[in-house]
């Protein structure tokens, strides 16, 4: 489903690569956490999977596409099979909840009939059927993130990418959002989620990929045990720097 092979990405003007020889394989239906300090390369990795960026070297295969070879005009069609949510929700402030979700279908040319059934369905699923005609500014942060999730999954994507989706939310709301993402995953969507929140990672008992300084330092399923050990190396990057030198 997602295969990343020895990928290096260096941004122009940066003195150290954002990703340095990263290899990772994610299967259909997996739920994977990407954890690591700021600047560890989580967001860079997500950008590569979404084909927002192209690596300097290495291979990125997502949904059967080699993302270094895919021609520019096919990128939009590739992205239709992906859903994405962010820490800052990225809703359109002048559109209602329903319009925000409908917008993402309108611009990929879905029929009015499809939109009229799909939007209420997905809003019902995220528990916001009763707020379809509210503006984002009238919603709480958790509700706004549910709208963003509804928008991300309304087109039934194969993969959901979530970049710190609970970063702006309080613990109770975080719990709701995580339950929702788990349900989405249970329905068959592969989920890749970047997070800082160790509490979530501990509770969810899913596969955890730990990044530090652009390298994968751990990739294990029994997260709770390993994270405790890896967290120290995340917190103390000096060890890695010494290794590099």
């Amino acid at each position: 489903m997602i295969r990343i092979d020895n990928v290096t990405k260096q941004y122009r003007g940066a003195n150290r690569p954002a990703l340095d020889g990263v290899s990772l394989e994610i299967d259909k239906g997996d739920f994977v956490f990407l954890v690591g300090a700021s600047g560890s390369g989580k967001s860079s990795l997500m950008r590569l999977i979404l084909r927002e960026d192209v690596p300097n070297s290495g291979i990125v295969h997502v949904l059967g596409e080699n993302l270094r070879r895919i021609p520019g005009r096919r990128v939009p069609y590739f992205r239709r099979k992906m859903g994405m949510v962010f820490q800052d929700f990225r809703l359109l402030p002048n559109k209602t909840v329903a319009q925000n979700v409908a917008f993402s279908l309108e611009v990929i040319g879905k029929s009015r009939a499809f939109i009229q059934t799909a939007v209420p369905d997905v809003l019902e699923m995220v528990g916001l059927g009763h707020k379809a005609n509210n503006l984002p500014s009238e919603l709480s942060g958790g509700e706004q993130q549910r709208v963003a999730l509804a928008r991300a999954i309304v087109n039934k994507p194969a993969i959901l990418l979530a970049d710190e989706p609970t970063g702006n939310l309080d613990p109770a709301t975080t719990e709701e959002i995580m339950r929702l993402i788990e349900r989405i995953n249970a329905a068959g969507t592969t989920v890749v989620m970047a997070t800082h929140d160790r509490g979530i990672v501990d509770r969810m008992q899913k596969r955890v990929v730990v990044l530090s300084q652009g390298k994968i330092v751990s990739d294990a399923r029994d997260a709770g045990y390993l994270l405790a050990g890896e967290a120290t190396s995340v917190a103390a990057p000096a060890v890695t720097i010494e290794e590099e030198e």
Partner: protein, 304 residues
Amino acid sequence: MRLGYALGEVGHGLRRNVSMVISIVLVTLVSLTFVGTALLLQFQITQMKNYWYDRAQVAIYLCTDSSPSAACPQGEASADVKTTVEQRLDSQLIKPYVQRYYFENHQKAYQNFEQEFKGESIAQYVQPNQLNETFWVKLKDPNQSAIITQSFNGVAGVEEVRDQRSYLDQIFSILNAASLAAIGVAVLMLLSAALLISTTIRLSALSRRRELSIMRLVGASNFTIQLPFILEGVVAATIGSVLASGVVFGIVHFFVQGYLAQVLPFTSFVGVGKALVVAPILVGIGVILSALASGVAIRRYLRI
């Protein structure tokens, strides 16, 4: 791609940028009016050339007593000179090029002169024998006037050989220069129109960058993303070019036909039909230019 969506976005964009849209409309209006005027001038020149070149003749002016002595040392041309000129015009060498010719004596020249300057004081001072006797030669092909000029220049008793087209060419070159100047101004204006369109489109894209980033995220095709912006530029420029067509039509109808044609009744002027030829050209230029300008602008702003 739903058309309703694209048109809705265009309307939205146009309303959001009203002042910029008005400036696009005005700049295209003015620049295309210049283009239209230049085209009309070219049509006018062609029309006048067709009209006047058909009537233009070569004049062989014979010497008079008052001719300058350099060209005419022996004064008034004798009857022999007229016979010589006549014979030569009828000779096998020249006859094939000549459609017809006629001789205008002092008396006839004076009558024509009087008619031409009727009511002006100069008519009172001119005597018939001061006006040249003239052979008026109409050529089969007006471009071959050099044959007559060369055969008769320097012949004793001939003061000057003159192709009337040389007078006309001066007028035409002035008109031509005017139309080139109009084209030059138009090109500059069109350039600024194109830059203005691309700036406006970029501004419009900037004000919609949230929508654009979401569109790219959910996989809207480049065509879907770009079309509303391109249409926005095209709509504004089309309004400008239609207005410019209206102005060109007005120039022809009210100024050329309504004023010039009344003041100069013997000149053939371009008609409204020509304005109808110019209008689609202007709209075409407006549409193509704006589509290119906004297309390039939005493509450079939005990379995948």
